[in-house]
């Protein structure tokens, strides 16, 4: 490893570059029950990390901790602020953290109802985050909102309709538009295709693939669906009983899993 001719590869990814998110020794327990522990990883700009495992493996707890929705018991979560400084998320002021959650970060919930305001229009759902970062011109806000509806393949004519009149797949696309409108750098996704029909899933995955690549987004994606992980992610982290048991390049972990649990997960897939 120390040979001079194989220092750091790939020109752009060496030297001074820093990870967007750095998690070190993260742990969280509920009333003495350890939900996740000893989790460490770096997430790089433009990288999509899938966290896979069965329900109860601690992946959603991990996602809530790193997105500052849940306080962790131990470990550090550092985020690369727009000024290029890696900061401890727990040490940010409340205002700074709120700013991150409204603009720089996005969160896509499995159930779109958790991420949308069901009683205001689709357009207002998208506009909310724009207004939070200072947009005031009504015409421009409305134009951006309809443009985003179009980009997530929603009929822009329905901009004034409430999301409760949308199907599940449409609500999920609206939730994604609402998050992406502020051009976040980091997205957290919890089973984004979870409750959808297979054909709607494929459409959403394809849409996400294009958006994420086009916007150079970094994503932490929690899913139990290995096919979703294969299609969207660069890297996989396999969790079992609250711990990371294997991590690596997505196709390598899926085609040549090393850990007994990963092998069991991969071999449990029903052929289509």
């Amino acid at each position: 490893m120390s040979r001079p001719d194989q220092l750091q590869p790939s020109g752009q990814t060496s030297g001074a570059e820093q990870p967007l998110l750095r998690v070190t020794g993260l742990a969280k327990s509920y009333d003495g029950f350890s939900a996740c522990r000893n989790v460490s990883f770096d997430l790089w700009p433009g990288e999509i990390l899938a966290v896979v495992g069965e329900s109860g493996s601690g992946k959603t707890t991990l996602l809530k901790c790193i997105s500052a929705q849940l306080a962790n018991d131990a470990g550090r979560i550092e985020y690369l602020m727009r000024d290029g400084v890696l900061r401890d998320v727990q040490e940010l002021s409340e205002a700074e953290r709120r700013f991150l959650m409204r603009t720089d970060w996005g969160f896509v919930h499995q159930n779109p109802r958790e991420g949308l305001r069901m009683s205001v229009s689709a357009g207002a759902n998208i506009a909310e985050r724009m207004i939070a970062v200072g947009a005031r011109n009504f015409g421009r806000i409305r134009a951006t909102a309809t443009d985003w509806m179009d980009r997530v393949e929603l009929d822009p004519q329905r901009v004034d309709h409430q999301p409760r009149t949308f199907s599940g797949g449409m609500q999920q696309r609206l939730q994604i538009a609402r998050n992406l409108v502020t051009h976040p750098r980091l997205m957290f996704m919890d089973e984004p295709t979870g409750g959808l029909d297979v054909s709607v899933q494929a459409r959403l995955l394809d849409l996400l693939r294009g958006l994420v690549a086009g916007m150079q987004l970094s994503v932490v994606l929690v899913t139990h669906d290995l096919a979703v992980a294969r299609l969207l992610s660069h890297r996989i982290m396999v969790m079992q009983g609250g711990e990371v048991v294997e991590t690596g390049l997505t196709d390598q972990v899926l085609d040549d899993p090393q850990h007994p649990y990963s092998q069991m997960l991969v071999s449990s897939i029903l052929p289509a």
């Binding site: 040979r3 194989q6 220092l7 590869p9 290995l226 890297r235 085609d255």
Partner: protein, 266 residues
């Protein structure tokens, strides 16, 4: 003739070591099947290989000898136990064994192309978009990428009326040509080819031979599996035999072919 080519290959390798684009050193690959009683299969042991610019090496050996495993290791798809796989990437050698995922992905994006035996279909993506995608990932404009993809699809005789369709419903031979086009659309310095002509008719086989010879001509280093003698003789200048290793299964004496446990398709 076979023996002579192999000897020639060995001589050539030492001389070309310095300019090698792909170098394999002391590579070991075993599979431990935890879900099947912990059977251990040693597939590759102490493998060495060096491929210089313009060389095309045919991996030879019977079915189940581990030829596809070699290619998958070389692409970073399978994880070797030890050894080095050095790929010349942007003037530096990157070791894929134990490499960071993002570094392996950068090597794949810019340096190392792989034609797998089967096309992994992405739902809803058209043939033209599938083939132009690797170029767009390199920053080539959409229009240029589509033009180059279209030219290659034409050369591979994919009817234009199919370009806007997702290849899921294409015939086996058409899917294979899409797969070849998706790799050959980029001028990768290194190529891995797993039976690229297996289900092609004579005309398309000839086209693929020409594409491979073009790649050699511009200096690509190629490692491939070619069961078709005619194709192999036409495109390869070197051979590397892959031998079936001894089965080392402490838990069992089962005679399991390594070929049976290759890639799980999702």
């Amino acid at each position: 003739m076979n023996q002579a080519t192999e000897n020639e290959a060995r001589g050539a390798m030492t001389a070309k070591e310095a300019t090698a684009i792909i170098q394999v050193r002391n590579l070991h690959k075993a599979f431990t099947l935890h879900t099947q009683g912990g059977i251990k299969l040693n597939v590759l042991s102490s493998m060495n290989l060096s491929v210089a610019s313009g060389d095309c090496v045919a991996l030879t050996g019977p079915s189940g000898a581990g030829k596809s495993t070699v290619l998958r290791c070389l692409y970073g798809n399978y994880l070797p136990q030890s050894g080095e796989i050095l790929i010349r990437h942007k003037g530096r050698n990157v070791n894929l064994v134990g490499g960071e995922p993002r570094d392996i992905l950068a090597v794949r994006r810019e340096t190392l192309g792989y034609v797998s035996q089967f096309l992994r279909v992405i739902p809803r993506v058209s043939a033209l978009d599938l083939v132009s995608e690797p170029l767009r990932a390199l920053g080539v404009s959409s229009n240029t990428a589509r033009d180059r993809a279209a030219a290659l699809l034409t050369r591979l005789r994919i009817p234009e009326r199919h370009w806007s369709l997702a290849p899921a419903t294409f015939s086996g031979g058409e899917q294979q040509r899409i797969n070849i086009a998706r790799t050959m659309v980029v001028d990768y310095p290194a190529l891995l080819l797993d039976e690229p002509t297996a289900s092609l008719d004579a005309g398309n086989r000839r086209t693929v031979i020409d594409l491979i010879l073009d790649a050699r001509g511009r200096g690509a280093a190629i490692v491939g599996i070619f069961h078709d003698e005619e194709v192999r003789d036409a495109v390869c200048n070197l051979r590397h035999p892959v031998k079936i290793p001894e089965l080392m299964s402490p838990g069992s004496e089962d005679t399991m072919e390594p070929g049976e446990i290759q890639g799980v398709a999702l």
